[in-house]
């Protein structure tokens, strides 16, 4: 654990100042092959390191695409990953793409199950609890917390939200995402661009509203 903290800190301080500090940056780096080898041979500590690196972005992705079921689906994903770990070939980026591909398949299974077993409520339950896009944008501006940001992204059309999360949070490139979602890399870039443009418009609108409110409060009353 202290080693992990040390690695995180060293990455943070040696990073290009123009690149933001996101958790998507690979943490294990050159240690990954050794950690993976140990995990394949049943080393719990090595598996825990893989889990700690990938669980937060996985959970955030699942929150955006499935809502309340995120933790259950994540557990199933890790169970399947544990079973098939010996079959994995590749580096750290490929491992993350592999985990997210497994997660996406689970999400599709979940949606199919929901389609076969319709409930009386229209729409999904988690969507009923979600704030309207404008409120989510205002909350994201005010709090700038992870939850508020995820809520705002989740207010986008499903495909755009999924692609933005896979690219910005999971750290996958357009080619990897295209392979996952069965589209061309160009189509993935276009969807991400549209999604970000929508987010930018909502944020700008929320920012305008905040400024207007402040101006209204600051204006001298006759």
């Amino acid at each position: 654990m202290p080693g992990l903290i040390k690695i995180r800190l060293s990455i943070r301080f040696t990073r290009d100042p123009h690149v933001s500090t996101r958790i998507v940056t690979s943490v294990l780096g050159p240690e990954f092959p050794e950690v993976m080898r140990a995990a394949v041979h049943g080393d719990e500590t090595a598996f825990a390191r893989l889990w700690r690196d990938n669980q937060p972005p996985l959970l955030r992705y699942l929150r955006v695409v499935t809502g309340e079921s995120a933790e259950d689906v994540a557990s199933e994903v890790w169970l399947e990953t544990s079973r098939r770990l010996a079959r994995f070939r590749g580096g750290e980026g490929e491992f993350r793409a592999w985990v997210f591909t497994t997660a996406r398949r689970r999400v599709i299974d979940l949606r199919r199950y929901a389609d076969r077993h319709p409930m009386l409520v229209t729409g999904e339950l988690y969507e009923l609890d979600r704030p309207a896009p404008d409120d989510a944008a205002a909350a994201a501006l005010e709090r700038m917390s992870t939850e508020a940001a995820l809520e705002l992204i989740a207010s986008l059309p499903r495909e755009q939200a999924e692609i933005i999360v896979l690219r910005a949070i999971a750290g996958l490139d357009a080619t990897q995402v295209a392979r996952m979602v069965g589209k061309r890399p160009g189509a993935v870039r276009v969807a991400a661009h549209r999604g970000l443009r929508t987010l930018a418009a909502r944020l700008a609108a929320a920012s305008d509203k905040q400024h207007l409110t402040r101006e209204w409060h600051d204006e001298p009353r006759p």
């Binding site: 669980q55 959970l59 944020l203 929320a206």
Partner: protein, 217 residues
């Protein structure tokens, strides 16, 4: 729609600060790749950077709360996966370029080696006539290995002169004769095993007839 959109543009502070520069495809790629917006970029770009940074921010304790359960499930699933010997793990175990797939990559080579060893061993045994009779017979008919020999030869048939009974060639057992008959065809075999009308017996060598007076005892 936000109430701000109903106001004249001069009353929109964010829009005024941001200018009218829209988000381009290259801006999108920069932001998604984790690069910060340029200082001169529009305000919305900075807002987007903040949003994506927040979405991909450091892990919370709540997100990492399931670690114990996940590791327990891993142990349960990988319980039967005992550590293998260093040789079987390949060079990866010694820190070399091998890895989890070392065994998988070696499997075809190992199988081919075992198959080659079996083929060579069987060929050698067939050449030395050391295989069991049916297999030796098969090798004999298939690729010309020596015919199977027998430790207890059948007693030589003594044929009285003028007898019309079947004569077995000296030194050629009935079983070997059957084997040859299979190999050479029924016609040839019957010719070999049939009694000589003139009392000549067939010798060991093909096509050589031995006169009665010269027959070896």
């Amino acid at each position: 729609m936000s109430p701000g959109h109903d106001l004249p543009s001069a009353r929109r502070p964010a829009a005024r600060r941001a200018g009218s520069r829209p988000l381009t495809a290259s801006d999108t790629e920069r932001l998604l790749a984790g690069h910060r917006a340029r200082p001169e970029a529009a305000t919305t770009h900075h807002l987007l950077t903040g949003l994506l940074d927040s979405a991909a921010g450091p892990a919370s304790d709540q997100e990492l709360a399931g670690e114990v359960a996940a590791v327990a499930a891993f142990v349960l699933v990988s319980g039967g996966r005992a550590p293998r010997s260093a040789w079987f793990r390949g060079a990866g175990a010694a820190g070399g370029p091998g890895g989890p797939g070392a065994v998988g990559r070696r499997a075809p080579v190992i199988a081919a080696g075992i198959a080659a060893a079996i083929v060579v061993g069987l060929s050698g045994a067939a050449a030395a006539d050391a295989l069991p009779s049916p297999i030796q017979e098969l090798a004999h008919t298939t690729f010309g290995a020596p015919a199977p020999r027998h430790s207890v030869p059948l007693p030589r048939a003594t044929v009285p002169s003028g007898s019309s009974g079947p004569v077995t060639s000296p030194g050629l057992t009935s079983q070997a004769a059957k084997g040859k008959a299979k190999a050479k065809g029924k016609a040839k075999a019957s010719a070999k095993a049939s009694p000589s009308p003139n009392g000549l017996a067939h010798g060991k060598k093909k096509g050589k007839a031995v006169p009665p007076g010269h027959q070896k005892t």
